[in-house]
Amino acid sequence: MNMAPQLVGYPALELENLHKSFGKAEIIRGVDLSVAAGERHAIIGPNGAGKSTLFNLITARFPATEGKVRLHGTDLAGMAPYEINRLGLSRSFQITNIFPRMSVFENVRCALLWSMGYKYSFWKIVSRSRALTEAAEDILDQINLLNRRELPAGVLSYAEQRALEIGITIAGGADVIMLDEPTAGMSHSETDYIVDLIRKVTENKTLIMVEHDMGVVFGLADRISVLVYGEIIASGTPEDVRADPKVQEAYLGAALEEEH
């Protein structure tokens, strides 16, 4: 599903003065961010910076205390996840979130149903649709799981489950893809594999990903925002961000603190 060319360059996602508090603890403290359509944007930051919270605010898993999230100009406040998804935003989860008792193929097929117009129909037999089967096989091919298609998703290896999760996330044809730490808990070779996969499947799409490790996103992201203690302290190209003294101080400092 290619993006309409006129959308390229326009903001796909805008965050405006976003705040989130849990009780007295203010986790997100005024985030402004604009991600252009077609851009690969990474949000990085040390543990506890609020990355996942920010992610959950964008996808309306939590309501924001203050501020706005706009997807293609539409305010997402108060929308249910399925409504946001229908507007063209799809997300993955930090903890692997698939349908464990269904086959790998069925996982992907379910992810395709809505976007292919099946909705809540109970008068069509899914296995009869060639288009649906082919689309699902195409996704499986992209995530290199074709030879696992009949296995229950729950028995796949961790890296395979993460790949499947990415497959499910992109299957619905959303043009804004959000990935929450897609390489968490992976070895180096697995990380490289997933990063290549992400690069491949998000071609012509807007990607927003949260990542702990700057190294992972360096070759992948067009722009990087650094989130520290609920605020974005820098935003720009990977080179700019890496050279930014504030980032070096805050991010590396925090990262060092963490190591000790």
């Binding site: 989860f93 149903l113 809540y120 109970f122 037999i125």
Partner: protein
Amino acid sequence: MTDLTQTTAARSSIMPQVLPWVIALGFLLVMPLIFTSNSALTIMNQMAMTIIFALAYNMLLGQGGMLSFGHAVYMGVGGFACVHIMNWDAFFGLIPLPVLPIFGGLFGMGLALIVGAFSTRKAGTVFAMISLGVGELIAACSVIIVVFFGGEEGISGDRTYGLPFFGIEFLRQIEVYYLVVFWLMVSAVLMYLWSRTPMGRMANAVRDNPERAEFLGYSARWVRFYSFVASGFFAGIAGGLFAINYEILTEENLNLTQSGAILLVTFLGGAGFFFGPIIGAIVFTLLQTVLSLETELWQLYVGALFVATVMFFPGGLAGLLMLHAPAAKMGRLSHLAGPYAKVLFPGIIGTLALCCLIELTFHLRHASIGDHEMVLFWTTFNTHSPVPWLLFGAIAAGGLWLAKRGAPDMAEAFHEANVMKGAA
């Protein structure tokens, strides 16, 4: 060229799908020729209705991940509605009897529409508690809304007042049997097809992971709601058949016992497989009808069987069968026969002897004073002499010991039968 491959592919994929249904239908049509007595027909009718109800229930439990403790009300209300239609001469005289279950379905569905509107918002404990509450509420209504539920004695009707259907007036049990079989086949095929539709697939997805399903564009709540309504419809069909078969409905058709029974049936058979509830319904109905004639303690044995299933075979009887599918595919089932017989034969004998001990105890405690005799397996025993106690005690201990001794061999044989040759 593509057309040709497409049709052959379609044909080859349809045959194995249709075959089990054809076999089932043939089996159902032949059964009354083998078991001709009226009581056998009654048992088979009961079985068929339980199958429909259990399959409907499994649309919630197995496919949708919704545990309901009050599903009997949808079958019951469908049944009550059908009895009222039977008693409404002006209308009933215009419709042939075989159409009546549709009205049961519509009433079951109507109730499910109302209840589902608020109960399907959440799955899990919230859904289970609401189902329990609503079930109790409607069961309690049976003594309050006497006009509809007929109070304690229930309501009764006469199925023969309907419009004759090709000259058939359904006076005979066998005619009712074929009517029930027709609806059994129609309902089972429709419910099977439902599980293959986008709705059915998404019900599985919502069961596994509602949050993920929401991020695929589906409202988990609506998916649950549609499943719930469809399940209510088929439960109502079962209720309509009940009304036709027994011509009476009482509070017993609505209450918690009935709701619990269908949960037991479904779980016993195996909620994870489409055909699981069918096996469960057959086994349960046999126990309920045949075993209950033999002993007053039948519910104890059913309960023990249920507990054993839940503990040792969480996939139910269907799951147990499917465990053997890989071995069957590799043609190794025969390797299992010996080790299985070594465990099952003494195991069954031992268990039966244990049951005899339970029966002896029950007789000793509950028989009238001076009645010291009871018949177990065509033999008369004196419950006050130590002989039967020692005999059954010894058989039970010996049988179970032998079974336990053979168990490791059986496990090993099972393991071997399932290992791919050359994989090790």
